[in-house]
Symmetry: C2
DNA sequence: TGATATATATCTAATGTCGATACTTCGAGG
DNA sequence: CCTCGAAGTATCGACATTAGATATATATCA
């Protein structure tokens, strides 16, 4: 494949951060939730992906703690950046085209 | 990641074969078409994936030539098997969940 | 015949992913 | 206190996947 876009783990992390900042394990939980427990991310994939995304400016570590009631000083929170949102949008659009093709091709049921 | 499903290239090949049998480069063309020229597959990825899918029983080489008018004896045609359709359905459903999440999260536009 | 395009195939390097492991800190119970 | 299990971040090495260069053969057409 050539210019196909984001690695799967990057897409998942960006998606998990789309609605609000989260910390590492919170991202893993969010991904599981969004996928009905279907998709699980191991620590190796997670932290490597976080570093790569941060280095590329698609996410940024943030001091804001979304819910100060339930906090833990060990946590490191990340938020998606505008560039990250753009990448996520592009990847989601790409994926939607293909999923739609599967549906149209009578492979996947309606609803 | 753990049990996430099919590799991207396997999904793409299965999708390209969903509607009818195709040969190697025909699959590459089909993938480009379905993705609006966004996704390109190189030969390394293609032929490796074909072998893996055939070994796993998700596709099968076939002697039927879809369009005998435009033929070329060098071509090797493949068709998707019932097991392949099942895998494709499962993967498309998985992806659709995530794409929907991106849409719901106000990341991706409507239509 | 020669040139170019089509087609399959393989090989190596780069990239991405997984699971085990390590280390630290938090919180609960004794 | 002290210990212990859980939560959290992080790294490492093995393994899987992907990309692109290269090889080789055959069509097709001038």
């Amino acid at each position: 494949m050539a210019e196909s876009g984001l690695p799967r783990s990057s897409f998942l992390v960006l998606l998990a951060l789309a609605d609000r900042p989260r910390h590492g394990l919170g991202i893993v939980d969010r991904v599981e939730d969004l996928s009905n427990r279907d998709v699980k991310m191991g620590p190796g994939t997670l932290y490597g992906t976080l570093q790569k995304l941060a280095a590329g400016g698609l996410i940024r570590e943030t001091a804001d703690v979304p819910d100060p009631d339930d906090d833990d000083p060990r946590r490191r929170y990340y938020r998606i950046t505008p560039r990250g949102e753009k990448s996520l949008r592009a990847e989601a659009a790409r994926m939607r085209l293909l999923v739609d093709a599967a549906v149209t091709g009578k492979i996947l049921g309606g609803a």
